[in-house]
Symmetry: C2
Subunit: 360 residues, 2 copies
């Protein structure tokens, strides 16, 4: 097939990790007879430096016209970078929020997997974590507190700030449907996470999710409160198959889950909208401290490109061959610094990309 | 001294654990020459059964008139208990929210401590968790999403739910001040947790906390995003001294932190308002499955009574003698089921209370 991919390399380690993913995609293209055309747009700090804003409308248009987007990471050091002297709506992360909304990417999918080869870096004791786990979080990405109205005013001489958490049934339904569809191809369990003992939006969430569940009779639905889920991710991560939750809870829980795996540098993510279009990015950030030093771990981005092939292009076989290549390189003992341990071979970002591409 | 304590035994294991704490308080009273007068009010499911609502105004009035409140736990099994067939504002937990608001308990304090004697139950590997940690979370308790306006409406045939997250500078300031005061008596570090890259309320939070920090020049203030904090609690809990955060983030992070300690049954909490008045309760829930079986761990409630003596009555020596008694009983190897391990002596709730009282 022929397809167009927009690359958003972004800031920090973004460019180096995206380059390695492109290396891998090119290898797939030549082996399987596909043609991937790339174009590049700026987002985040690099866009601020060039255009004064973190994402131009032109860039959005380019990304929209592509079949999929591969993103590195955006943002810099919040204490030292001049980007963080700007008002919030002009900072690098605002570009990320804008592209999610403009491209209608309402479902953020983040797998949390304990890689066999990396069990030693799981922070949980053998008795809990190391029996293994493999679940995926579906986070609603274009609603809730992130996109409700907000204001800061002065009332009777005192500052007051308001954010609003809004959900409509349609917003809940479409992401829930995606989660149930995914569960059908997995262990057939959806755990919907909310704070229904306090929030109206959570009570609506729970209702609508239960309605969607009726269309998936073979999938088992359970509900869990967000505070309990924050505990259960540590106590017994193996209990989860698909976790479904709203935007802010998903932000917190998916980061917690990725730390529980102990291999943040390995975890991809996909943000999907209607149809097959999607944006793919590593779960980790831009790591400005190690940028440009060939020290970054490109695996999360390479795994994101596998998700891109699977979800946006329907190329499951190709996606699997990337994932298998990653596993064999790990099995051979090659590690970047973040996942290095005694007795393994330390390599850089480029060499990791090369070795994975070679294995395919 | 003479003082009045309102007991709210609540539901599930509530009555048994409060009884053991009272046993310990009585022992303190007789040894140190104090007089504690108790009265009792209903809250939660037991109040629903008696009065049809989870907390009567009469009960609020009684609690308000006391010098401090000791609470067991409220709520039942959400799947099977008839209390959860009621509309949300009539369920057991609504009583808890009402008493917090009515008594002005704006600062919830939850220590997260790795007890030396219970290191084996910490879910983190030796390399991370077991170097030990001892931090405390200050959670704002009467603002934010919990108490903002909410509504569920039907707009153009579609359901829509809205919750509002509101903070005023006064609400932020008073809880921040408490956190800084506590830090001054500890390792002098406050980590304020927010989502300032997205929320207006978090940006105001960060501003006001920075202003309060000026009054505490010897305390070091850092800011952390909530998603990162959810990771750091697992990656390196030892880095924290005092964590300060808003209501919903505090709900999630404090439960996560208590799971990280591995000894939820040990952790007390205090909810303070203006002056010395406070409500004290274990961090854990009502555990309806083991209620009435003499299996509950009363230690969190007993430790809560120690906090009560310290914060509301200024009786630090007495508080310490309770805490020391708990430690010695653990050192002698006595354990309730939740913290039991090979080679220790399994005892019930009552015997645990007796042994702790005896040690004082
Ligand atoms: C950068 C930030 C706005 C973003 C979010 O909160 O969604 C990030 O934490 C993420 O999870 O992708
Ligand atoms: C029962 C519930 C309303 C409550 C809360 O969310 O505050 C509980 O989780 C807590 O932390 O005390």
């Amino acid at each position: 097939m022929e397809a167009n991919i927009t690359l958003i390399k972004g800031d920090g380690i973004g460019p180096e990790i995206v380059n390695e993913a492109v290396k891998v995609l090119d290898r797939i293209a030549s082996l399987y007879g596909h043609k991937f055309n790339y174009n590049e747009v700026l987002m985040g700090g690099c866009s601020i430096d060039e255009y004064g804003i973190p994402l131009t409308d032109e860039a959005v248009k380019t990304a929209k016209a592509a079949d999929a987007v591969l993103l590195g990471a955006v943002g810099g050091n919040t204490d030292t970078s001049p980007w963080y002297k700007l008002p919030p709506e002009k900072r690098p992360e605002a570009g990320l929020l804008k592209i999610r909304k403009e491209l209608g990417l309402y479902a953020n999918i983040r797998p949390a997997i304990l890689f066999d080869e990396l069990r030693h870096s799981c922070p949980l004791k053998e008795s809990t974590g190391e029996k293994g786990f493999d679940f995926v979080i579906f986070r609603e990405l274009t609603g809730g507190l992130y996109f409700g109205e907000r204001s800061t005013t002065v009332v009777e001489g005192k500052r007051k700030a308001v954010d609003t958490l809004v959900y409509t049934e349609d917003e809940i339904e479409r992401v829930a449907r995606r989660a149930f569809e995914a569960a059908q191809g997995r262990r057939k369990e959806v755990c919907s996470v909310d704070k229904a003992n306090v929030l109206d939006s959570s009570r609506l969430w729970r209702q609508v999710v239960a309605e969607v569940a009726k269309d998936f009779p073979e999938v088992k639905l359970t509900n869990m409160l967000v505070d309990n889920c924050a505990m259960q991710l540590i106590a017994n991560p193996a209990q989860f198959d698909v976790i479904l939750t709203e935007n802010m809870f998903g932000d917190i829980l998916s980061d917690e889950a990725s730390m529980v795996t102990g291999s943040l540098g390995m975890l991809p993510s996909a943000s999907l909208g209607e149809g097959r279009f999607g944006l793919y990015e590593p779960s980790h950030g831009s790591a400005p401290d190690i940028a440009g030093k060939d020290k970054a771990n490109p695996i999360a981005t390479i795994m994101s490109s596998a998700m891109l092939l699977r979800y946006s292009f329907g190329l499951s076989k190709e996606a699997e061959s990337i994932e298998d290549a990653v596993k064999s390189v790990l099995k051979e003992g090659y590690r970047t610094g973040d996942i290095f341990s005694e007795g393994k071979t330390l390599i850089g970002c480029k060499e990791m990309g090369d070795r994975i591409a070679d294995k395919i």
